[in-house]
Symmetry: C2
Subunit: 780 residues, 2 copies
């Protein structure tokens, strides 16, 4: 936010700092040198391999066919559409809730039985057998998760949130929302979390919610679709975008049981465009999720979910606890925020390095990826089992009602290798599921449950694991590792403060987790509401806000958020909401000049020309020009008219359908209508290789008018890049035409086309290094 | 929302319903006939009188001076700005919280002592004296509120929310956010609410919050400003917009003690543009409000707020109540929603009629306005006092802990004229403050407290009062009247359902209030969250959502929301988020042709021409053209270049400062810089009358280049109005230039300018009646 604020009022004081007279230089001379070109690569890292990515068409393609179509739609069809939209929102919530429950139950039961077995061997003092069982089970689970990910759906690795963010920003990444990805994500998530790895199921749940939304919207998998006519309304990028927004909100809600938080997460972190209507529909989805989760909690409370069903659904339930605090507590609270911000940005920095290293390993092949995962799993298991031996046995506090010591999974005070009446505090945190560890750290009125030494070991271990686990080839969420680290450091800070404050150590842990999340992910409002809904205590709101605000501000002064770092690392062309200050110094005309000249087509064009253009360029849209008559002026010579913009996909469709004219003439709309139904036109298709055109056909003509979008958005060439970017992002464009500021015969009415890639700060700085010196170290 | 959905996929099936071949007609022929003109009136009803309104400049005016300025800004200045922005957000919350507390305490104490006196006379059976006291006190309080409103600040009447909505949409209404308005609003609100009128303090609180924000942003009242240099950063429309958004969120939060609900209310209902950064800042404001309110509640709980301090702050506190419901309860819940939607839209319809009638009365002069208020007050007082005599005395239920019967203000079971051991249920609802009435209706586990007859009388009375109180010349909120009506009908429905459902009658009342609000105001998410924060029960979320969804859908099928009706009635040019379907059929070129030809200026222009243009037109901006050289084409004859757009305010400034050149030449930026500091340029000034120009000066020249915004947004003439509207609203424009699609010498590079007025559906339909037939009864 601070960054955004800086942009708003300009603020690059060091612009004039370099010798000479750079000010008049930048004002009066063009920044473009003839040999500079604006490069744009349509490649990005998707899953683990570099793939071709494409922009999405969120703009309404207002060609004659579209206009004809929507005039034709009946009231009944409109009602069908509205009804279906709400039904889909409901189904997204329903399925997300069900799958979240499934994952929770599976993880709890698998991990439960595993830990029970380990505990069994521990009580028999068969320590080596215990280690073998734990390591074996964890390796097996990791192997399943990792092999599935590596072989069947590389895009299922990681949290998926950066890719969803990019999708909603207008970048289509292939194989992101398919059925295989979803199934692998579900199974892999169960395996990885049950294996005790330091990763969460929250990020994957968001991705799963989005997959459900996408699959429902298109009526099934890519190969097996329901051919329900009603669903054809959703066969376009705009409606899919809305559905995926609903899905991501439902996923967050399922992860934290926080309906309002889920909506705000989608609004604040994930979505790029937002409308009131969407607010309401996402809220509907999250409400359905809450209902499903509540039903299952009731069922599980009556004992029908297996041995260990209860724990998973009641995540971090701290709502019945009353925390108190006083005005003097503001100083430790601010301290939590500052440390959280520093740690969070440090974590971002180091994770970036680790991910780069992992990329090198992953590039070596599938076996390496699986081996990497197994190594991390082995290390984790050994640490989880071995480190508790370092901790001293602590005597049970008889004043506490809970059973102490306990064996197996459930219960707060793990006996481990201690004698009766004693418990091992480190085992309580380590030999359990991550959810339980968080719950133990958040627990209040237990100031002496954990020793300082154990907390230190736990914190250091999870810092290491948090850095080295995230990049492995399994579904992995970032929320939980950060919450674990944050809760540990918060609790340590609380213990260190000791008698200075009256804040409970559990509250310190909660605030520490919030601070570290804000310091790393830089979310604020949604995080605040999620914590509000977790703690269910309005009184905590002000101090949570102070912590989040400070942590975010501190973090922002070091580096961007972790999702931005991942987006950048993967090369996804994400458009930021706020233009960089130096973008006001550059005009789109200068940007257009740095690109190859624009390729245009005639309104009625020869087939051979179209084939040439498709073969020799990679552009996805072409301006369509016509000769114009200007009766009122009288100077008709060389007058040209911009008719609009035609998409490559539509040109390919014309060639595939062989809709050629023998003579050069304009057609009527009804001639085309039958040939190109609108729902077919909305599909993306640009595989041009298998179209064979005879040489006779090459000499024929195509009338492009009916297929041309006659209302493309345009900017004048002296528009600043900053304002063009605002237009591009606010309206959700794919192509933006640059028109000349000069009116004269013989001039081309289009001087350039801007795409998402051209407006990215990173790409512009490659072509205009002069600007780089002025940017003040803002981009990474 | 349903309307919005309809727009998205088009959906005007009856478009082709009229004879002939309108389809090819609209496709191929221009809709514009030569004699049609697009009229736009800059007048609207502000307060009670017709005033001149102006659009706001949310676009960044990128002229040379602006560019120079922000290049010059130092890091320290940027930090000043950021720091101040947060400080102001905090202060907005602080003051809003304090004033909300003040209003609550004043209302509770004034109304408390008043009712205590009335109760005193009732127990002595001096009924006429009691009536006199009540009527006298209420008339006095109403008189104060009304006279203040009528004489000092007419804009303080009503809720103020529609005007805030319009402001954030880009319409500046004069005298809306001044100090006088705020003070009158505070005092008037206290008077009107304490007088027992059927109006709330919630709407006024939103307005007060916005006033505080505006006053803080400009550093004081219009006449007495703090000349603090830091504050100059906020002297522009963009920053004021952000502050007022914070203020409105703080107001809602203060009204309902719902921080998240307040933010979402601002997001959903009030604001037009929204950014992530704003989300966080508004949330900060509302958190501060919550802290202030909580502090005061603690102080009041320790008895330091006078006799009746407690009640006002703890509004509708139903959080400790546990409601239960079952799946079979879905039918009554849906019934509540349907009835709520019907009643809500009926209320909107009737209120519209009443407001039109009141307008006629109010036009007659100040005395009439005051008399109207007093009449309503008299009628209200007589009804409140007289109607309880119709109710039968009910015996106290000894199983309930509360004192029964009670006298005076506090207490649930009013004795009124009943014997000991009996209470009057209608007096419990009527002879109390509105807040207490709501609390009584919401109370649970009291199925027999209110008789059906009493509820009917209450409901009918408050329907009548709700219609006739809103339009009087006092500050009046719409929330409370609607909540009262809704709670009454909900409770009646609950009583009628009787044994059919297990839902508590208090819950019925809550849902009824929600349904009627959704049916009338058409808010959904914010309402849902406000009710969530009021009831503090996540379990209620699903049924609240169902009720709201149904009520809103039912209401939307009849008429627009009450705020939209008021906006339309007042003639405020509010731009809707979604274009009407028929807007895709019209191009901006056709729209431009229906307007008078565009008036342009030369880059270096004669003073006399500028004076002429300013005198003879009312436009607020003029395109600046230059002759162009086109070396690469060679056809320089008649080539013109669009340099940009200059604002009327800046032209007036040039004339006032007499910045004239003796010869026709272009100037350097440094020549202008001293003359026109940027913070002066941001101020609006267009009073041109007092500028006297000598005839010698008339022959001199002005170089408009440095003051021209070189980067205005443009659309091509074949752009559809629908897309132009999306651009206009999303980017937040004041002027949109239409450029020709044809490139030819001799053509003017600008064929028209669109403003907010030109893009309003209502105005377009006036000029293009053919479209009206196709619109399918969507606008009112």
């Amino acid at each position: 936010m601070v960054e955004e604020d800086l942009n708003q009022i300009g603020g690059n004081s060091n612009y004039n700092g370099e010798g000479g007279d750079p000010e008049s230089n930048t004002l009066n001379q063009p920044l473009v040198k003839a040999n500079r070109t604006l490069s744009s690569t349509p490649l990005a890292l998707v899953g683990a391999k570099v793939s071709h990515i494409e922009s999405l068409d969120y703009e309404i393609n207002e060609n004659d066919l579209f206009k004809h179509d929507w005039r034709k739609r009946s009231k009944a069809q409109v009602l069908q559409y509205v009804f279906l939209k709400w039904t889909l929102a409901c189904l997204v919530g329903l399925f997300t809730g069900l799958i979240a429950t499934l994952i929770n139950l599976a993880v709890e039961n698998i991990a439960g039985y595993k830990l029970l077995a380990v505990g069994h061997f521990l009580t028999q003092e068969r320590y080596v057998t215990g280690l073998m069982v734990l390591v074996g089970a964890n390796l097996g689970l990791t192997l399943v998760a990792s092999v599935l990910c590596v072989c069947f759906a590389p895009t299922a690795a990681g949290p998926g949130i950066p890719e969803i963010k990019a999708y909603l920003n207008g970048v289509d990444t292939p194989n992101m929302f398919g059925a295989t990805t979803m199934i692998v994500k579900i199974v892999g998530s169960i395996g990885a979390v049950a294996a005790g790895l330091d990763l969460g199921k929250e990020g994957p749940l968001v991705h799963i919610g989005s997959c459900i939304a996408s699959l429902l919207g298109q009526g099934g998998t890519d190969n097996h679709r329901i051919k329900w006519r009603w669903l054809r309304y959703f066969n376009n990028d705009r409606d899919r975008r809305d559905l995926i927004t609903c899905g991501s909100a439902a996923g967050v809600c399922a992860a934290f049981r926080s309906p309002v938080g889920g909506v705000l997460f989608a609004l604040e972190e994930v979505a790029t465009w937002w409308r009131s209507a969407l607010l309401w529909r996402t809220f509907f989805s999250t409400a359905v999720v809450v209902v499903v989760l509540r039903e299952f909690i009731e069922i599980c409370n009556s004992g029908k979910c297996g041995l260990f069903g209860k724990g998973g659904l009641i995540m971090f339930d701290v709502s019945h606890v009353t925390y108190t605090y006083h005005v003097t507590d503001i100083i430790p609270v601010m301290l939590i925020g500052v440390i959280g911000g520093i740690l969070g940005s440090l974590y971002n920095h180091l994770l970036h390095k680790v991910l780069r290293l992992y990329n090198l390993i992953n590039e070596k092949g599938k076996i390496h990826k699986v081996l990497l995962s197994l190594t991390v799993s082995l290390f984790t298991s050994v640490c989880l089992y071995g480190l508790p031996f370092l901790a001293k046995c602590k005597p049970c506090d008889p004043s506490i009602d809970e059973i102490c010591p306990t064996n197996g999974r459930s219960g707060n005070f793990k006996q481990f290798h201690c004698p009766k009446g004693y418990y091992n505090d480190l085992a309580t945190l380590l030999l359990t599921t991550n959810d339980d560890a968080v719950r133990n750290l958040f627990s209040s009125n237990t100031p002496n449950e954990f020793g300082m030494g154990s907390l230190w070991i736990f914190f250091v271990l999870y810092c290491i694991l948090g850095l080295f686990t995230f990049g492995i080839a399994t579904p992995s969420g970032l929320f939980l590792p950060i919450i674990l680290m944050g809760a540990a450091y918060g609790r340590m800070l609380g213990a260190a403060m000791g008698s200075y404050t009256s804040i409970d150590q559990g509250l310190y842990a909660v605030l520490g987790a919030a601070a570290l999340m804000a310091g790393s992910m830089r979310m604020t409002v949604s995080l605040c509401v999620i914590f509000l809904e977790l703690t269910n205590n309005l009184l905590l709101l002000p101090i949570t806000m102070i912590v989040l605000l400070i942590a975010k501000t501190v973090g922002d002064s070091f580096n961007p958020s972790i999702y931005d770092i991942i987006l950048h690392l993967k090369g996804l062309p994400f458009l930021e909401a706020n233009p960089e200050p130096w973008m006001r110094n550059l005009t789109v005309g200068e940007l257009g000049d740095a690109k190859p000249p624009v390729v245009t087509l005639q309104g009625v064009e020869k087939v051979s020309n179209i084939v040439d253009v498709l073969k020799n360029t990679t552009h996805n849209a072409f301006p369509v020009l016509d000769e114009a008559e200007v009766p009122q002026v009288g100077l008709a010579t060389g007058a040209t008219e911009l008719h609009g913009l035609i998409l490559r996909a539509h040109l390919v469709k014309v060639l595939k359908k062989r809709w050629f004219l023998t003579e050069k003439r304009r057609t009527e709309e009804w001639e085309v209508r039958e040939k190109f139904p609108w729902d077919e036109l909305a599909e993306r298709e640009d595989n041009f290789d298998d179209v064979a055109i005879t040489s006779a056909e090459m000499e024929m003509y195509v009338d492009l008018h009916p297929l041309t979008n006659t209302t493309p958005y345009t900017v004048m060439e002296n528009m600043s890049v900053a304002k063009a970017l605002v237009l591009f992002r606010q309206v959700g464009l794919r192509h933006l035409l640059i028109v000349p500021k000069i009116q004269a015969s013989g001039m081309c009415p289009v001087v350039g086309i801007l795409t998402r890639q051209d407006l990215r700060a990173y790409n512009i700085l490659q072509a205009f290094p002069l600007l780089e010196k002025s940017k003040g170290g803002k981009t990474h």
